[in-house]
Amino acid sequence: MTEGTLIKVGMADLNIADGGAMLRTTGLGSCVGLTLYDPHLKLGGMAHIMLPSSDIAREGQLNIAKYADTAVPELLQRMISKGAVTGRLLAKMAGGAQMFAFMGGTDTMRIGPRNVEATKLALERFEIPLVSEDTGGNYGRTVELNSLTGVFSIRSVQHGVKEI
């Protein structure tokens, strides 16, 4: 993949990129955009996680990119198959917002924070350090990972662009 190529990661989807290609996922609300980066290989991976746990899945064919507990190992596996070493990987993430505030919010309403917690738990399981995050709040985010630099940029309507 060449520099400047943009790889779009859809909702409940994941992908990897190297050679300076960008990974991008748009309109994260309560969903979490997780990235893993191997600085030595300049290889990046991104997952757009929608729900915390595959325990609640009732679908026939499980979409493993959708749930925090299954997306993290899958993304890790995809990176390892490209030569990444787990001990070198750095994680960054954004999203997990609570778009709407409700009185006496039910579990569904708290889905953003729950996605963040579940993603962190999955990272801990593989001992991948979370180096930075931009999570929570009540606003949407579009995120991009530059596979050349590992820079993770976050754009929102109210706060413009920031890099972590």
Partner: protein, 205 residues
């Protein structure tokens, strides 16, 4: 994902009629509120991949004004009233009588007015639907957001999320005269609600 085992076309027609009745009443309410005619397009009922739902309102990153309500009761679901920015400005101008929302900076008053409009419209949509089906349906307090369409709409897809990667959407477009779409009414019943809706309407399952 195939949501309906049999009579799929007929069931889609029934849901289209559900949208017709609900949104028809909401359009009348909006027209009364604005004191001018508001038309609506024939509702579309489609099983769409999550990504495609935001495309209906300009794409995942398009900034929209959305009023979200959770429908409680016999046939729960999620409801969105999505207004484009320009029509929202005109609606506010008509209601409040002064130039509203310069540069997309909404005041408390404007946000509250938009939220109330959403409340009235969703209320009329649900009331007519409840009358028509004999089911109990009540809206939660509306919540308003001005943000990326993808971020907002994904909230209404969580119930479908555990079942697959598509959601069934009843979409009605509002039109003011011959102008561009003013906004959309999205009703996304929870997957479990379809059988209840069909049973209430005498559709064989």
């Amino acid at each position: 994902m195939s949501l309906f085992k049999n009579d799929s076309d007929f069931k889609m027609d029934v849901l289209r009629e559900v949208g017709n009745i609900g949104a028809g009443n909401a359009a009348t309410a909006l027209s009364t509120l604005l004191n001018k005619p508001v038309d609506m397009a024939v509702p579309t009922v489609s099983l769409l991949p999550f990504e495609a739902i935001a495309e209906r309102v300009g794409g995942s990153e398009a900034v929209v004004i959305a009023i979200f309500l959770r429908v409680d009761g016999d046939a729960p679901g999620n409801m969105f009233f999505i207004i484009n920015r320009e029509p929202a400005r005109r609606i506010l101008q008509g209601l409040l009588g002064f130039d509203a929302a310069e540069n997309d900076n909404y005041s408390e008053l404007e946000l509250s007015a938009l939220s109330e409009i959403g409340n009235i419209l969703a209320g009329s949509y649900l009331t007519s639907l409840a009358d028509f089906t004999g089911l109990h349906m009540s809206p939660t307090v509306p919540s308003l957001a001005v943000d990326m369409a993808g971020a907002i709409l994904s909230y209404g897809l969580l119930q479908f999320g555990t079942m697959g990667d598509d959601a069934l959407l009843i979409d009605t477009t509002f039109l003011e005269g011959q102008q561009e779409a003013e906004g959309h009414f999205f009703l996304i019943p929870d997957p479990e609600s379809f059988d209840k809706l069909f049973r209430a309407l005498g559709v064989p399952l």
